[in-house]
Protein backbone atom coordinates (compact mmCIF):
# COMPACT_ATOMS: atom_id res chain seq x y z
CA UNK A 1 0.00 0.00 0.00
CA UNK A 2 1.72 3.19 -1.21
CA UNK A 3 0.38 6.62 -0.38
CA UNK A 4 1.43 9.98 -1.71
CA UNK A 5 0.73 13.23 0.06
CA UNK A 6 -0.21 16.24 -2.00
CA UNK A 7 2.10 19.25 -1.46
CA UNK A 8 -0.68 20.95 0.48
CA UNK A 9 -0.98 18.03 2.88
CA UNK A 10 2.75 17.62 3.35
CA UNK A 11 4.02 18.90 6.66
CA UNK A 12 7.27 20.82 6.87
CA UNK A 13 8.95 18.36 9.22
CA UNK A 14 7.36 14.99 8.61
CA UNK A 15 8.53 13.04 5.58
CA UNK A 16 6.70 10.29 3.82
CA UNK A 17 9.69 7.94 4.08
CA UNK A 18 9.08 7.92 7.83
CA UNK A 19 5.36 7.38 7.50
CA UNK A 20 5.16 4.73 4.81
CA UNK A 21 6.57 1.90 6.99
CA UNK A 22 3.84 2.58 9.57
CA UNK A 23 1.15 2.50 6.91
CA UNK A 24 2.48 -0.73 5.46
CA UNK A 25 2.79 -2.30 8.91
CA UNK A 26 -0.73 -1.28 9.96
CA UNK A 27 -2.12 -2.59 6.69
CA UNK A 28 -0.33 -5.93 7.10
CA UNK A 29 -1.10 -6.42 10.81
CA UNK A 30 -4.78 -5.51 10.46
CA UNK A 31 -5.26 -7.59 7.33
CA UNK A 32 -3.71 -10.63 8.96
CA UNK A 33 -5.47 -10.23 12.29
CA UNK A 34 -8.87 -9.61 10.75
CA UNK A 35 -8.34 -12.04 7.84
CA UNK A 36 -9.68 -9.35 5.52
CA UNK A 37 -8.10 -6.63 3.38
CA UNK A 38 -8.01 -3.03 4.57
CA UNK A 39 -7.93 0.24 2.67
CA UNK A 40 -7.06 3.83 3.50
CA UNK A 41 -10.35 5.68 3.63
CA UNK A 42 -9.04 9.08 4.57
CA UNK A 43 -5.82 10.95 5.12
CA UNK A 44 -5.52 14.34 6.77
CA UNK A 45 -3.11 16.61 8.61
CA UNK A 46 -3.94 17.80 12.10
CA UNK A 47 -2.36 20.73 13.84
CA UNK A 48 -4.52 20.61 16.93
CA UNK A 49 -3.68 18.61 20.05
CA UNK A 50 -4.69 14.98 19.72
CA UNK A 51 -8.32 14.22 20.50
CA UNK A 52 -9.08 10.62 21.43
CA UNK A 53 -11.87 8.82 19.55
CA UNK A 54 -12.25 5.75 21.76
CA UNK A 55 -9.77 3.10 22.92
CA UNK A 56 -6.31 4.43 22.10
CA UNK A 57 -2.75 3.19 22.59
CA UNK A 58 0.11 5.66 22.42
CA UNK A 59 3.75 4.91 21.68
CA UNK A 60 6.58 7.42 21.99
CA UNK A 61 9.64 7.30 19.79
CA UNK A 62 12.92 9.05 20.62
CA UNK A 63 16.25 9.34 18.82
CA UNK A 64 16.93 10.11 15.15
CA UNK A 65 13.18 9.86 14.79
CA UNK A 66 11.13 11.59 17.45
CA UNK A 67 7.46 11.85 18.11
CA UNK A 68 4.50 9.67 18.88
CA UNK A 69 2.11 7.29 17.21
CA UNK A 70 -1.44 6.66 18.39
CA UNK A 71 -3.71 3.83 17.33
CA UNK A 72 -7.29 4.73 18.07
CA UNK A 73 -10.57 2.87 17.63
CA UNK A 74 -14.07 3.90 18.61
CA UNK A 75 -15.35 1.71 21.47
CA UNK A 76 -17.60 -0.47 19.31
CA UNK A 77 -14.88 -1.12 16.73
CA UNK A 78 -12.36 -1.82 19.50
CA UNK A 79 -14.60 -4.56 20.88
CA UNK A 80 -15.13 -6.02 17.40
CA UNK A 81 -11.42 -5.97 16.58
CA UNK A 82 -10.43 -7.42 19.96
CA UNK A 83 -13.08 -10.14 19.63
CA UNK A 84 -11.84 -11.00 16.15
CA UNK A 85 -8.22 -11.12 17.33
CA UNK A 86 -9.15 -13.11 20.43
CA UNK A 87 -11.38 -15.51 18.51
CA UNK A 88 -14.22 -15.04 20.97
CA UNK A 89 -16.84 -12.39 21.70
CA UNK A 90 -15.61 -9.96 24.35
CA UNK A 91 -17.71 -7.52 26.38
CA UNK A 92 -16.91 -3.81 26.00
CA UNK A 93 -15.78 -3.61 29.61
CA UNK A 94 -13.24 -6.39 29.20
CA UNK A 95 -9.64 -5.49 29.99
CA UNK A 96 -8.67 -7.68 27.06
CA UNK A 97 -10.14 -5.09 24.67
CA UNK A 98 -7.65 -2.46 25.88
CA UNK A 99 -4.88 -5.06 25.96
CA UNK A 100 -5.59 -5.97 22.36
CA UNK A 101 -5.39 -2.36 21.20
CA UNK A 102 -2.02 -2.01 22.97
CA UNK A 103 -0.74 -5.21 21.37
CA UNK A 104 -2.05 -4.07 17.99
CA UNK A 105 -0.07 -0.82 18.39
CA UNK A 106 2.92 -2.82 19.52
CA UNK A 107 2.86 -5.04 16.45
CA UNK A 108 2.33 -2.18 14.00
CA UNK A 109 5.14 -0.10 15.48
CA UNK A 110 7.44 -3.10 15.87
CA UNK A 111 7.07 -4.03 12.22
CA UNK A 112 7.61 -0.41 11.13
CA UNK A 113 10.70 -0.20 13.34
CA UNK A 114 12.11 -3.25 11.62
CA UNK A 115 11.75 -1.55 8.26
CA UNK A 116 13.10 1.84 9.41
CA UNK A 117 16.05 0.17 11.12
CA UNK A 118 17.05 -1.23 7.73
CA UNK A 119 17.22 2.37 6.51
CA UNK A 120 19.71 3.20 9.27
CA UNK A 121 17.59 5.21 11.67
CA UNK A 122 18.72 5.10 15.29
CA UNK A 123 15.82 5.42 17.66
CA UNK A 124 14.12 3.94 20.62
CA UNK A 125 10.51 2.79 20.76
CA UNK A 126 8.92 3.00 24.18
CA UNK A 127 6.33 0.45 25.39
CA UNK A 128 2.73 1.23 24.48
CA UNK A 129 0.56 2.97 27.02
CA UNK A 130 -3.19 3.15 27.06
CA UNK A 131 -4.19 6.69 26.22
CA UNK A 132 -7.03 7.59 28.52
CA UNK A 133 -7.25 11.37 28.56
CA UNK A 134 -9.63 13.09 26.17
CA UNK A 135 -6.90 15.25 24.67
CA UNK A 136 -3.32 14.25 24.00
CA UNK A 137 -0.07 16.04 23.43
CA UNK A 138 1.31 17.11 20.11
CA UNK A 139 4.63 15.52 19.29
CA UNK A 140 6.29 18.91 19.39
CA UNK A 141 5.34 22.48 18.74
CA UNK A 142 6.46 22.35 15.13
CA UNK A 143 5.23 18.92 14.06
CA UNK A 144 1.86 18.28 12.52
CA UNK A 145 0.13 14.94 12.91
CA UNK A 146 -0.85 12.81 9.97
CA UNK A 147 -4.11 11.01 10.59
CA UNK A 148 -4.76 7.90 8.52
CA UNK A 149 -8.12 6.21 8.65
CA UNK A 150 -7.99 2.52 7.75
CA UNK A 151 -11.29 1.10 6.65
CA UNK A 152 -11.67 -2.51 7.76
CA UNK A 153 -14.51 -5.00 7.48
CA UNK A 154 -15.56 -4.24 11.07
CA UNK A 155 -14.97 -0.51 11.41
CA UNK A 156 -12.39 2.22 11.10
CA UNK A 157 -8.97 2.18 12.73
CA UNK A 158 -7.15 5.49 13.09
CA UNK A 159 -3.40 5.87 13.00
CA UNK A 160 -2.26 9.27 14.23
CA UNK A 161 1.42 9.88 13.53
CA UNK A 162 3.46 12.89 14.57
CA UNK A 163 7.11 12.18 13.76
CA UNK A 164 10.12 14.06 12.56
CA UNK A 165 13.72 13.04 12.16
CA UNK A 166 16.58 14.95 13.66
CA UNK A 167 19.45 13.98 11.38
CA UNK A 168 20.45 12.07 8.28
CA UNK A 169 20.14 8.33 8.83
CA UNK A 170 23.29 6.36 9.50
CA UNK A 171 23.80 3.60 6.91
CA UNK A 172 24.83 1.23 9.73
CA UNK A 173 21.80 -0.65 11.12
CA UNK A 174 20.68 0.77 14.43
CA UNK A 175 19.76 -0.65 17.78
CA UNK A 176 16.19 -0.16 18.82
CA UNK A 177 13.86 -1.80 21.24
CA UNK A 178 10.30 -2.96 21.02
CA UNK A 179 8.13 -5.90 21.77
Amino acid sequence: MELRLTPRARGPEMRMELIQPFINAADAVLAQGLQSPTSVANLSMEQEAYRRKGVAALIWVTGDIEGRIVIDLDPTTAVRVASRFAGTELPESDELVRETVCELANQVIGNAVTSLNDQGFHFRVHPPVLHTSEHGPKSSEDTEALVICFETCIGNVFLNIALRHNCTPNPEPAAAVGH
Binding site: G87, L96, E99, G110, N111, H179
Partner: protein, 146 residues
Amino acid sequence: MEQFVAVKRSKDGQPVRYLVVDDSVFARKNLARMIETFGGQVAGEAGDGMTAISEYERLKPDIVLMDITMPQMEGIEAAEKIVQQHPEARIVMVSSVGYQENIVAALQRGARHFVQKPVKPEVLYEVIKYVMGEDGTAAHAAGAGA
Protein backbone atom coordinates in the same frame (compact mmCIF):
# COMPACT_ATOMS: atom_id res chain seq x y z
CA MET B 1 -8.36 -21.54 13.80
CA GLU B 2 -6.78 -24.20 11.64
CA GLN B 3 -5.91 -27.52 13.30
CA PHE B 4 -2.49 -29.05 12.80
CA VAL B 5 -1.14 -32.56 13.08
CA ALA B 6 -0.26 -32.80 16.76
CA VAL B 7 3.40 -32.53 17.69
CA LYS B 8 4.14 -34.94 20.55
CA ARG B 9 7.24 -35.73 22.54
CA SER B 10 9.05 -38.68 20.96
CA LYS B 11 10.14 -40.15 24.29
CA ASP B 12 6.67 -40.67 25.79
CA GLY B 13 4.09 -39.54 23.21
CA GLN B 14 2.86 -36.83 25.55
CA PRO B 15 1.92 -33.32 24.37
CA VAL B 16 4.78 -30.84 24.07
CA ARG B 17 4.73 -28.56 27.15
CA TYR B 18 5.16 -24.81 26.63
CA LEU B 19 6.07 -21.86 28.80
CA VAL B 20 4.60 -18.70 27.26
CA VAL B 21 6.35 -15.47 28.22
CA ASP B 22 4.91 -12.09 27.18
CA ASP B 23 3.85 -9.00 29.12
CA SER B 24 0.72 -8.76 26.99
CA VAL B 25 -2.15 -10.92 28.24
CA PHE B 26 -3.61 -10.78 24.76
CA ALA B 27 -0.40 -12.07 23.19
CA ARG B 28 -0.20 -14.91 25.72
CA LYS B 29 -3.79 -15.95 25.04
CA ASN B 30 -3.21 -15.79 21.33
CA LEU B 31 -0.15 -18.05 21.56
CA ALA B 32 -2.01 -20.40 23.90
CA ARG B 33 -4.75 -20.81 21.30
CA MET B 34 -2.17 -21.68 18.66
CA ILE B 35 -0.46 -24.16 20.98
CA GLU B 36 -3.79 -25.93 21.44
CA THR B 37 -4.12 -26.35 17.69
CA PHE B 38 -0.63 -27.88 17.62
CA GLY B 39 -1.77 -30.47 20.16
CA GLY B 40 0.48 -28.91 22.79
CA GLN B 41 -0.08 -27.97 26.41
CA VAL B 42 0.57 -24.62 28.09
CA ALA B 43 2.47 -25.61 31.23
CA GLY B 44 2.76 -22.04 32.45
CA GLU B 45 2.82 -18.35 31.63
CA ALA B 46 4.98 -15.43 32.68
CA GLY B 47 4.72 -11.68 32.11
CA ASP B 48 8.39 -10.77 32.55
CA GLY B 49 11.89 -12.22 32.26
CA MET B 50 12.44 -12.76 35.98
CA THR B 51 9.27 -14.80 36.34
CA ALA B 52 10.18 -16.71 33.18
CA ILE B 53 13.41 -17.90 34.80
CA SER B 54 11.69 -19.11 37.97
CA GLU B 55 8.86 -20.69 36.00
CA TYR B 56 11.35 -22.50 33.79
CA GLU B 57 13.04 -23.93 36.91
CA ARG B 58 9.71 -25.04 38.31
CA LEU B 59 8.10 -26.43 35.17
CA LYS B 60 10.98 -27.56 32.93
CA PRO B 61 8.91 -27.05 29.77
CA ASP B 62 9.87 -28.53 26.41
CA ILE B 63 9.69 -25.15 24.68
CA VAL B 64 9.68 -21.51 25.83
CA LEU B 65 8.02 -18.89 23.64
CA MET B 66 9.66 -15.64 24.78
CA ASP B 67 8.80 -12.01 24.00
CA ILE B 68 11.71 -9.54 23.95
CA THR B 69 10.70 -6.25 25.53
CA MET B 70 9.20 -6.84 28.93
CA PRO B 71 9.32 -5.14 32.34
CA GLN B 72 11.99 -6.04 34.93
CA MET B 73 14.06 -8.22 32.63
CA GLU B 74 13.94 -8.40 28.85
CA GLY B 75 13.49 -11.63 26.97
CA ILE B 76 16.97 -11.95 25.49
CA GLU B 77 18.59 -11.59 28.91
CA ALA B 78 16.15 -14.08 30.44
CA ALA B 79 16.85 -16.53 27.60
CA GLU B 80 20.58 -16.23 28.21
CA LYS B 81 20.20 -16.90 31.93
CA ILE B 82 17.98 -19.91 31.33
CA VAL B 83 20.35 -21.40 28.76
CA GLN B 84 23.36 -20.83 31.05
CA GLN B 85 21.70 -23.06 33.62
CA HIS B 86 19.97 -25.38 31.16
CA PRO B 87 21.86 -25.66 27.87
CA GLU B 88 19.19 -28.03 26.60
CA ALA B 89 16.47 -25.34 26.88
CA ARG B 90 14.60 -24.72 23.64
CA ILE B 91 13.74 -21.04 23.53
CA VAL B 92 11.95 -19.41 20.61
CA MET B 93 11.89 -15.61 20.61
CA VAL B 94 8.59 -14.07 19.51
CA SER B 95 8.75 -10.35 18.82
CA SER B 96 7.31 -7.71 16.52
CA VAL B 97 10.77 -6.19 16.10
CA GLY B 98 12.48 -8.44 13.60
CA TYR B 99 15.52 -6.51 12.47
CA GLN B 100 18.72 -8.44 12.00
CA GLU B 101 20.63 -7.32 15.12
CA ASN B 102 17.75 -8.34 17.35
CA ILE B 103 17.64 -11.78 15.81
CA VAL B 104 21.41 -12.25 15.92
CA ALA B 105 21.59 -11.07 19.54
CA ALA B 106 18.86 -13.53 20.54
CA LEU B 107 20.50 -16.45 18.75
CA GLN B 108 23.97 -15.62 20.08
CA ARG B 109 22.61 -15.62 23.61
CA GLY B 110 20.98 -19.00 23.41
CA ALA B 111 17.64 -18.75 21.61
CA ARG B 112 17.00 -21.50 19.06
CA HIS B 113 14.78 -19.53 16.71
CA PHE B 114 12.97 -16.24 16.12
CA VAL B 115 9.38 -15.65 15.00
CA GLN B 116 8.10 -12.20 14.13
CA LYS B 117 4.72 -10.89 15.29
CA PRO B 118 2.02 -10.98 14.16
CA VAL B 119 2.56 -14.70 14.49
CA LYS B 120 1.29 -16.86 11.66
CA PRO B 121 0.24 -20.24 13.11
CA GLU B 122 1.69 -22.17 10.18
CA VAL B 123 5.06 -20.45 10.65
CA LEU B 124 5.17 -21.10 14.38
CA TYR B 125 4.13 -24.71 13.81
CA GLU B 126 7.05 -25.31 11.44
CA VAL B 127 9.43 -23.62 13.89
CA ILE B 128 8.19 -25.84 16.72
CA LYS B 129 8.75 -28.98 14.65
CA TYR B 130 12.23 -27.75 13.69
CA VAL B 131 13.20 -26.83 17.25
CA MET B 132 11.90 -30.10 18.69
CA GLY B 133 13.88 -32.03 16.08
CA GLU B 134 14.11 -35.71 16.88
CA ASP B 135 12.60 -35.10 20.30
CA GLY B 136 9.24 -34.39 18.67
CA THR B 137 7.00 -36.29 16.30
CA ALA B 138 4.06 -35.03 14.31
CA ALA B 139 1.33 -37.64 14.49
CA HIS B 140 -2.44 -37.62 14.20
CA ALA B 141 -4.09 -37.75 17.60
CA ALA B 142 -7.63 -37.54 18.90
CA GLY B 143 -8.75 -33.92 19.12
CA ALA B 144 -5.66 -32.53 17.48
CA GLY B 145 -5.52 -34.06 14.04
CA ALA B 146 -5.70 -32.10 10.82
